[in-house]
Symmetry: D2
Subunit: 151 residues, 4 copies
Amino acid sequence: MTPSTATIDTPDATLRARIQDSFDRSGLLRHLGARLGEVVPGRVHIHLPYGPGLTQHLGYFHAGSTTTIADTAGGFAALTLAPPNHTVLSVEFKINLLAPAQGESLEAIGEVVRAGRTLTIVQIDVHALNADKRTPVALMQQTIINLPESS
Amino acid sequence: MTPSTATIDTPDATLRARIQDSFDRSGLLRHLGARLGEVVPGRVHIHLPYGPGLTQHLGYFHAGSTTTIADTAGGFAALTLAPPNHTVLSVEFKINLLAPAQGESLEAIGEVVRAGRTLTIVQIDVHALNADKRTPVALMQQTIINLPESS
Amino acid sequence: MTPSTATIDTPDATLRARIQDSFDRSGLLRHLGARLGEVVPGRVHIHLPYGPGLTQHLGYFHAGSTTTIADTAGGFAALTLAPPNHTVLSVEFKINLLAPAQGESLEAIGEVVRAGRTLTIVQIDVHALNADKRTPVALMQQTIINLPESS
Amino acid sequence: MTPSTATIDTPDATLRARIQDSFDRSGLLRHLGARLGEVVPGRVHIHLPYGPGLTQHLGYFHAGSTTTIADTAGGFAALTLAPPNHTVLSVEFKINLLAPAQGESLEAIGEVVRAGRTLTIVQIDVHALNADKRTPVALMQQTIINLPESS
């Protein structure tokens, strides 16, 4: 889980900057305290440190918290492969909650399964992190649409 | 399916109190400003007034906000029909995002499709509200499991 | 949403003829013995009489049989609202199997939830029919894409 | 993609025999000409050679054919890890159709993601095979329930 080692002049740095910019304009991601992790073509990681504003009634991460970072990781993974001057939108997704989401943080990893001209299919794994232990807590399958950016 | 005119001594008031209690213990729902609406056996409404902490990069409600109240409305709808001394957990759900979630507030309405002994299937509609206009923005199909409450 | 009393010169008859033609060219639908039912703009019914070639190991309709007619009813419902000179393709669907699919026949009813320029969202109910009893056996939520017909 | 090398006295042979028996009692799988492939704990392969009774209107495999073997591979994968004296039932699944299912045969591979006491989550890949080329055509995420066998 090394941070992106891209520096300012590389294509990867440009890619990351584009995604960080979109990330920073999302009020929900800031409000929840999510952070952008690794960004490479076809794969994006999102981190979510535990906090009292993220929980369900038993004190675990709420499915809404888990789903938010899964959907975000998937959408950004699709964005890394979108045609130039296109943005992306979630069409739909399905998530299985595999185990209680209990830990110091969650990490969602979105990986593109198939990038088409119009639609991109992404798979997202979410793990709970505790010290050095990783527990799978959710699995998402997502459909993304590429849309021309309005200028 | 009577409207929620229940007062303190009716079964519906007890039902609502049980769900409000669970609602109030969820840090995420408070953090997002969600509110419990109508509660009747088999159907629960959740409201989410617009705020800057709920948005995606274009200023609409983030899919994570929409999904959080849809999942919550569905889970509570299932809880209204769960066997005594059982709690509920989302097994999985699938959501289609039908239109940009733009408005003064969102309302999610969860209705039980089939309540089984172990599993309950729920369908959830989410609308965006603007003055007196309601626009459908999402449709969810959800699977809930009934679990004995640990004493 | 008029009932299918269309005769040969009406738009509804043209619509039905178009769908019947596509239906008849599907080897699987013939092989399973499926039949086209009511066709109106935004809604299509498919019937599947019981037979020994449709079953799972206990003798009920196999989930594959149920899903085939649900996917078909949904795709055709979308086709009734597709732009001229477009065909449709299933992007994805999610189905909940609500009860054992046991009966003299199955009926799948696909109804369009939202018809967009590119994507159409459809909901499909499947019932098992026994004498005069209808039992809901499956619920599907489906995403369809409109594609220009190659000439 | 080696065939199961299990012989008659091994646990794997017993496992395979149990699944082959269930397979053989499904009228639909016989009617479509599906064949049981590799069987190991947590993973099952199903093959479907092309035939005119499996197609949609353009002559490709119908989504119903693809889905039938995907659901079957997933259910049997779950069955390999089910508790003794339990059978399995599909609760729900979601499938993305990634590309036209065109080829000499399809192969569905179901792999268990998480085997619980009551519910098992499975992921299924379907490929189209042409000479020595494999093309991914579908991706399914499935929820299975373990049920005590009635004696």
